[in-house]
Symmetry: C2
Subunit: 586 residues, 2 copies
C-alpha cells in the first residue's frame, strides 16, 4: 500500500494536533505542514502575556520548531509558506515560499485546512498608520512587545473588548500605560450578559482602564511626531516627554490622543482558499464541515477557527474561536483519516479569562442568546463563597445559571470571582455535556474541605435554587424590574436586611423589616399587594418569602439580591453620568 500523503494548511492548534496524531497513528504517512507565519504550534493564547512581560522568554511561546517537529515526528513543517490555491480535481495545492517567492505545486491524498482566523480590520481612514497593531501571530506579538519596550508608550487605545482586547489592556496597564478600550456594543465580553459584564467594567475602571461603550472608531489620524514638532519651532523640547502620535476619532467625534492602537474587534475565518476552490461556506464565510470535520470536498478536512461548529446547547451553527475545540478537532481529523471513527459533537464555547485579579468564566449560552433563540428560560443568580466562610481566604463568587423552563435543560452559566470560578464553570460545562437537568446540580457529590469549597458547593446551591423556583417554592424577580416597581403603588418592596445594611443603601421606597423581626411585624405589610422582597444576597429574602408566602402573601424574591442589583446599577449610573444624552465625557 502506498504511503498516504497528507498536506496540512496551518500549523498552530488544530493543524499541529492533527499532524502529531496522524504520525502516532501512521508511522509511514508523509505529513507536510505549510504555515504562513514563521512559527509552528506556538502558544497562541499566551501572546497577550508576552506583550506585558508576564511570559518573559520568547522561547516559551515557540517551544516547537520545524526541527523539533521533524526530530520527533518526521513531520515536514514549512514555515513562511503560504498555500495559494487548491485544485480539488488534481488534488494539489499551489504553495508560495514567502521568503523565496518560489511557487510550487504539492499533491495530497488528504488535505487538512487549519488556516485559523484573521483579525478583522475595519476599513477606516488611517488604519494603516504606524503603531496601529493587531495581535494574532507571534510576529504581531514581537512587533507590539518591541514597540512597548523601546518606545515606552504612555497611552494606548484598544479597539474591541473581547478576550484579546481585555488581556492586552491588562498587560499594557500593568506596564503603566494609560489604556482606553473602545467597544461598539454596550458591554465588553459578549460571552456574558450585560449585568455580569458590568462587574468586568467595574474591575477594569478600578484599575484605571477607561472604557468607551457604544463607541466605534471612524478614523485614526497621525499627529506630527515629536521630532517633527521640535524641528518646526525652536521651543526647547522636554526630552523625556513623549507626545501622543495618534488621534483616534470616534463616530461621535470624540478624539482620543494615544501613542498606539490595538485593533481587536474580532476575527474572520481564513476561508479564502476554500472559497476560491468552491467549498460550501457557512456563517461569515466559514468552512462548512460535517461531524467528521469533512468539508464539502472529498478528502479535504477543515478544523479550528476557520470552520463553523454546532453549538451544543442550541444545536445551531456558530463560530467559536477557541483553542480547545481546535485541538480536539485536529485529533478527530487524524483519527478519521486513519480509519478510526471519530466525531466532533459540538462546542459549548466554555471560556475563562483573567481580568486583573478577577476570573471571569462562562459556558453554554447567555440570557441574551436564549432570548434570540426564543427559548423559554429562567435563571438564578447567587453569590456564594468560593470556600467555607470560616476558613481564611475565601471570596464571593457572582454566579448566574440559565436554564430552559419546561425541560430544565441547563443552557449556560456565567461566573465571576477571584478563586474557584473556573472549577464551577467546568463542573457545569460537564453537566451540560452530559445532558444533566438543572435541578440535578443539587445532587452532585463534589469534593469538600474548608479550604476548597462548602459542604453545599455553589453548584449544589444553584441546583437547590433552581429546584425551588421550578417547584414553585419561591417566585423570583430581577434587578431589571426594580425601576418599574419603585414607582408602582400597587406593590410593596420589602428590605429584609439589618438596619445597618438598610442604612448604607437601599431601594427607594422599600419598607424595611429585618427577616428576624418579620413574624412579629408582618401585619405592617399590606397583604393585598404583591410583595417584592430583597436582602443582600437573596438568601434571607428567600426565607422571608417562605415565611410570608405561607401566610398568604404573594411574594417575589430578588434574584441575586441587593448586592447584584447595586453592582449593576452603579455601573449603569456611571455610564449615564459619563455620557449624558450621548455626550462625550471629556
Amino acid at each position: 500500500m502506498k504511503n498516504k500523503k497528507i498536506v496540512i494548511v496551518g500549523g498552530v492548534a488544530g493543524g499541529a494536533s492533527a499532524a502529531t496524531r496522524l504520525r502516532r497513528l501512521d508511522e509511514n504517512a508523509q505529513i507536510t505542514i505549510f504555515e504562513r507565519t514563521g512559527y509552528v504550534s506556538y502558544a497562541n493564547c499566551g501572546l497577550p502575556y508576552y506583550v506585558g512581560g508576564v511570559i518573559e522568554d520568547a522561547d516559551e511561546l515557540t517551544l516547537q520548531t520545524p526541527d523539533s517537529f521533524w526530530e520527533r515526528f518526521r513531520i515536514d513543517v514549512r514555515t513562511k509558506h503560504e498555500v495559494m490555491s487548491i485544485d480539488t480535481e488534481k488534488k494539489t495545492v499551489m504553495v508560495c515560499g514567502l521568503e523565496t517567492g518560489k511557487v510550487f505545486e504539492e499533491s495530497y491524498d488528504k488535505l487538512i485546512l487549519a488556516p485559523g482566523a484573521k483579525a478583522f480590520i475595519p476599513n477606516i481612514p488611517g488604519i494603516d498608520s504606524k503603531n496601529v497593531f493587531t495581535l494574532r501571530t507571534v510576529e504581531d506579538t514581537f512587533r507590539i512587545r518591541d514597540y512597548v519596550v523601546s518606545a515606552s508608550p504612555k497611552s494606548a487605545v484598544v479597539v474591541g473588548g473581547g478576550f484579546i482586547g481585555i488581556e492586552v489592556a491588562e498587560n499594557l496597564r500593568k506596564m503603566g500605560v494609560d489604556v482606553t478600550i473602545v467597544e461598539a456594543s454596550n458591554q465588553l465580553m459578549n460571552t456574558l450578559d450585560y449585568d455580569m459584564a458590568t462587574l468586568v467594567h467595574t474591575k477594569l475602571r478600578s484599575k484605571g482602564v477607561d472604557i468607551r461603550l457604544d463607541s466605534t472608531v471612524s478614523s485614526i489620524e497621525e499627529c506630527k511626531s515629536h521630532e517633527e514638532k521640535k524641528a518646526d519651532n525652536s521651543k526647547p523640547a522636554d526630552r523625556m516627554s513623549s507626545e501622543s502620535k495618534l488621534s483616534v476619532v470616534l463616530r461621535d467625534k470624540t478624539r482620543i490622543e494615544t501613542d498606539m492602537v490595538l485593533m481587536a474587534v474580532g476575527v474572520t475565518p481564513e476561508s479564502n482558499l476554500a472559497k476560491e476552490a468552491g467549498f460550501k461556506l457557512g456563517i461569515r464565510d466559514s468552512i462548512v464541515v460535517n461531524e467528521k470535520m469533512e468539508t464539502s470536498v472529498a478528502d479535504i478536512y477543515a478544523v479550528g477557527d476557520a470552520v463553523q461548529v454546532k453549538n451544543t446547547v442550541t444545536g445551531k451553527y456558530s463560530l467559536i474561536s477557541l483553542a480547545g475545540p481546535a485541538n480536539k478537532q485536529g485529533r478527530i481529523v487524524a483519527d478519521n483519516i486513519c480509519g478510526i471513527e471519530s466525531t466532533f459533537e459540538g462546542s459549548l464555547g466554555s471560556s475563562v479569562i483573567k481580568v486583573f485579579d478577577l476570573t471571569v468564566a462562562s459556558t453554554g449560552i447567555t440570557e441574551k442568546r436564549a432570548d434570540v433563540e426564543g427559548i423559554d428560560y429562567d435563571k438564578v443568580v447567587l453569590s456564594p463563597m468560593s470556600h467555607a466562610g470560616y476558613y481564611p481566604g475565601g471570596h464571593v463568587l457572582t454566579m448566574k445559571v440559565v436554564y430552559e423552563k419546561v425541560t430544565k435543560k441547563i443552557l449556560g452559566a456565567q461566573i465571576i470571582g477571584f478563586s474557584g470560578v473556573d472549577k464551577r464553570i467546568d463542573v457545569i460545562a460537564t453537566a451540560i455535556s452530559a445532558g444533566m437537568k438543572a435541578d440535578k446540580l443539587k445532587e452532585l457529590d463534589l469534593a469538600y474541605a474548608p479550604p476548597f469549597s462548602s459542604a453545599k458547593d455553589p453548584v449544589n446551591m444553584a441546583g437547590f435554587m433552581i429546584e425551588n423556583v421550578e417547584s414553585g417554592i419561591v417566585k423570583q424577580f430581577y434587578w431589571e424590574d426594580i425601576n418599574r416597581l419603585t414607582g408602582d403603588d400597587s406593590v410593596t418592596i420589602l428590605d429584609a436586611r439589618t438596619s445597618e445594611e438598610y442604612d448604607s443603601g437601599h431601594v427607594e421606597g422599600a419598607l424595611h423589616i429585618p427577616v428576624d423581626d418579620l413574624r412579629e411585624r408582618k401585619e405592617e405589610i399590606d397583604k393585598s399587594k404583591p410583595l417584592y422582597v430583597y436582602c443582600q444576597s437573596g438568601l434571607r429574602s428567600y426565607i422571608a418569602c417562605r415565611i410570608l408566602a405561607q401566610e398568604g402573601y404573594d411574594c417575589y424574591n430578588l434574584s441575586g439580591g441587593y448586592r447584584f442589583y447595586s453592582m449593576v446599577k452603579k455601573e449603569i449610573n456611571l455610564v449615564k453620568k459619563s455620557f449624558p444624552c450621548g455626550m462625550d465625557k471629556e
Copy 2:
C-alpha cells in the same frame, strides 16, 4: 390540620439542614433539635484548623447559636440535651438535660436521627490518660487548643492517618510540634491507592512529620511528670524544659515518648438509640435507610454519619462520613416530611484535603476497592500541568483515573498536586454522576486560558489516554511490574528519555535510546522480545511505542512514567530501609 411536631436528634450538618429546610417548607411545624454537645450547626470540618490557629476566632466555628436558630427559624434548639431512648410505639423520646440531669419525655410526629458518628476509641491500657485527645466536637477542639496553647507541647502522636489525623498533624506541625503519625495499615488515607498515598507520605516526611506505618498502639503509659521528678531528686530542673508525659507503646514494643496523643483512628456510627429501639442496622451497626432516608421504623428518618449509604459506583452500601452527603440528606428528609418527593441517590465519597501545600483529592473508588469488588478495571496515570506550561505558576498534577474495562464506566479518580486538583476531581465526579463513559472525558469542553488550564485539559488528556488504551493503540505496564521485569532476560526495557534524564536515574538494565533517535537506532532493539518503554511522564514513551509498534515490536508503555515509578519507589525503599525485617528504626 394539627401542626406537625418534628424532633431532631443532633444539630450539626444533617440535623441542622433538615431543620432549616423544614421551617422554610412549613412555617407552622413545631421543630425541636436535641443536641448533646453545647453547640449547634458548628463548622465541623473547620475544627482541625482552630487547633492550629488558622481559624483564629472561636466564633467563626460556632456562628449559629440556639438563639440565632430561634430568631430566624423558630427552631427550638436544646444543646446539652441527650436523647436517651425512643419509644417507637408511643412516638416519644426520653431526653436528659445534661446540665440539670432532668429527664423528660418528648413526643413527635416525625423523628429525625442525625446523631453523627463518634471517634472510635480502641480499648487499650492507658487510653484514659491525661492529654490523650479525640477530635469530634467543638468541646474537643477547645480542649486541644487550650492544651497546645497553655502547655506548648513539643511532641504529639497522632494515631490514625485519615483526614482528621493528617489535618491535625499539619496544624500541630505548623506550631512547631514534633508529630508522629501511627497508622495501622501500610499507607495513610484509605481514599487513595498505595502508590498515590506515597506522595502524601513524602510530603509529610518532608515537613518533618514522622510516619509509622503498619503500626498499632498497644498501650499508652503516663510518665512521671516534671514536678514529680523534681520532687524525687534534688537535681536542679531546667524550668524551660518540658519533659514528655506519655509513652506510646506500639505492638512491636517501640516506644514513642510524647506530650500528647490524638486518637483519630476512625469513627463509628452513633446508632445506640436506634439499636436499642430495634431499628434495622447495617454495616458496623449503622442505621439502614431507604432512598427517602426513612429508617425501618415508621415516621423516623436518619441522616449523616450514622447511616449507611449506597456507593454510587459499586451500588453497594458503605459508610461515608462526609459533610456534603449529610447536608444533602437533611434537606431530602425535610422534603419528604413535607410531601415533596425526594431521594438520595448515593455518594461517590468525593473528598479533598490540604496536606501542607499539597492538595489531595479523590472521587469514586480506588483500584484497591475495584480489586475487592472483582471489577475488571484498568487505569491511566498522568502528570499534566495544572495550567499551560508557558504561563508562570503552573504545577504538575499526579492524576490517576480508574475505569471498568468492558463498559468504560469511570470508577474513580485520585489527583494530587498544588493547584487545580479540586477542579479536576469535581469535573470527574460530575462525569461519574452523569454516567459518562471514561473515553468521553476527551470531549469535555472545559474553559481554557493559560492561567487556568491547557487547551487539552488534564481531564481531556485522561480521556485521550483511556481511548488509546481501550482501542489498542497503546498497551500499558505499571510501576508494580518493574521489579519483575528488571530480572527478566526475555524482555527489553527501553528508556526513551534524554541522556541527562537517563544519567540522573533510570531503571536497572534499561536500554537507553532517546525517542528522537529511535527511528535511526531501532535495529538495536531485539524485535523478538516484548519491549517495555518508559520516559519521564509517559508521553514520549507513548510516541516511542507508536513508532515501534508499527514496525512490529510488541510494545508496552509505562503508565505514569519514570516520574511516578521513582516517586513510589523512593517511598518503598525508605520504608524498607527504615524498618528492615520489621525492625524499629530508632
